[in-house]
Amino acid sequence: MSDKPRKFKGGVHPNDSKALSASKAVVNAPLLDKYTVIINQHIGAPLEVLVKKGDLVKKGQLLAKATGFVSVPLHSPTSGSVTALEKCPGPACISVPAIEITADGNDEWGSPFEPVADWQNAEPSALKQRVADAGIVGMGGAGFPSHVKLSPTKPVDTLILNGAECEPYLTADHRLMLEQAEEVVLGAAILARILGLKSAVIGVENNKPDAIAALNKVAAKYNVKVQGLRVNYPQGAEKQLIYALTGREVPIGGLPMDVGCVVQNVASAAAVYEAVVKGWPSIERITTVTGEPLVNPGNWRFRIGTPISKAIELAGGVNVQPAKLLLGGPMMGMAQNSLDVTVMKNTSGILLIPVETVSQYTSEPCIRCGKCVTACPMQILPATISQAVENERFDWAEQLNVLACIECGSCSYLCPSRRPLNQHFKRAKAEIMAARRKQPKK
């Protein structure tokens, strides 16, 4: 591995707008009276709720248990009582089941775990079980259960920590790496022990030199390497990060383990450290609350279940009317229609966008300029696929490998005809998967 900045093929360079919150230290959000914890915060099997209305719970107590391997439990963000089991607005603008916890103000721990100080000598399988029991998911945005990725069925030789944070505006991972460098590195070391590896590599985009320096100070001690990456969106996408760091290409439809890699987010690594060494389940995370309309953008450590409206209040409210509210970054974040949506384990950012930067929907004909083709990090043909989708030719779209699309939005970002390419691909993927489910299994 040379030290020259690495990158993948394609990508775009949106204005990163990170200056709004990059210099703001992480602040612990004050304890609220009420938390509405969305039950299914991960990708995978839905949870089985263990509490009922009126139950008293402690901070860290198990609220719902996993029902399968690809599933992680949920813990209480504070001590108090369960006051409702109702539906609340979810991040996809569809109401989802949630548990409402009314805090008693004591914030008293009732963690089901014992801290493991001597993790260097602990059994890797026990460490992995702790990761699963603590409810840790991919905190970069996907929400995929971490322990599943730690159980590869193929030989793995590289552990990669994703600290690229390529989404514009977001600085949560940046602040984490800067302020809790040792925890991230220790998390990496624990993850490496679980996988039976001796080393790990943390990939960080070069626009965070202070984070790289902070990590480098502690990394060598634990045999962790910090690698600078060229600033390029979507550098933090799993497959692109693997290519930039190792030169290996994950095959279409494949997983990182197919090329001997496991990728974990830096925030997940820090959560692993806290779960193992401190015995804390995953009940809080650092989230960037940012956007030009906010009076005081910054980074906060929120308990899960904190309503977005409270987060915006903490950031001083707005001085101009925002046009859009997103969970996540501007490229892949999801637009919200309610301020009652709550922070989940994978909420990396809460972003308000001013009217000037929201483009109105138009869909002009494709002019075949090819910008999307050069930008596509998966090297598929967005222009042609979008035409296939517009004509409802999903079989053709499938031949053109639309299923390889990672929905990074680079093509839509660049398109001079402002075609809704990303949305077309979402549709194509959904239609193809629905058709596959319908087909009788051979």
């Binding site: 996809a92 603008c93 569809i94 637009a335 929907y361 809704p420 949305q423 077309h424 549709r427 959904a430």
Partner: protein, 276 residues
Amino acid sequence: MTIILISILFAAGLGVLLAVVIGAAAKAFSVESDPRIETVTDMLPGANCGGCGYAGCADFAKAIVEGRADPSLCPVAPPESAGRIAEYLGITTQEKEKVIAVVKCSGSCAVTVRSPYNGVGDCRSAALVAGGAKGCDYGCIGFASCARACPFDAIEMRDGLAVVHPELCVGCGKCVETCPKNLIILAPAAVDVHVYCNSPEKGALKRKVCKTACIGCRKCVKAADSEEQMTVKGFLVETNYSSPPLPDLVEKTGCPTTALRLASKHAAGAYEGVSK
């Protein structure tokens, strides 16, 4: 002069020769086809809607003649037409009940909570992005995917709500699969009373986002001649299509949200602005 004459003779000779070749080829390589298929195709409506499940009317006619399909499968043709085809072929056909599509939602823009949506104008695309950006997770998104799929122009988009015109609908079912919210059902055409709501949520939650939702008050169940005429499923009431109520139920009930409607009057727009 001779050149012109030679050219004419040559062209004529070539024409005769080719005609003989084509004629011989047509005889030698002729494909036997059942002449009845063509007759049956002519007896079908020729809409090529695909409602029967075959690729157009000609394919369906072939299936009927070969005994693979029943003439009554055609949703467009009146029952007499199926009878005529059966008579011509000397087969028996079953009586079929005419069905029409019902979009089980009454949430037009005027009565529901909606957020601005900035994307592809197609229900199936919109449903993937933000569930259609509508207050109700179960209602009509209103981007006309069903109306575009209808070969008979029987679905009208009125203030962001798909409304079926019963007199135009033939019940081919093309719209049913286009709806990402699975709102469209095929109901017997003889039944006029339907509940125009599909949300299984609690009444209070539904009322928050929609003025014309069924709140499950059971007023219609009590007003019906027999309680079996309306089926209660949790917080949602449905018409029992196997023992349907009479059209006067709507008036007798006086549904507080006007979710209970007559399909014919709903299409005519009689319920707009009625809900309290």
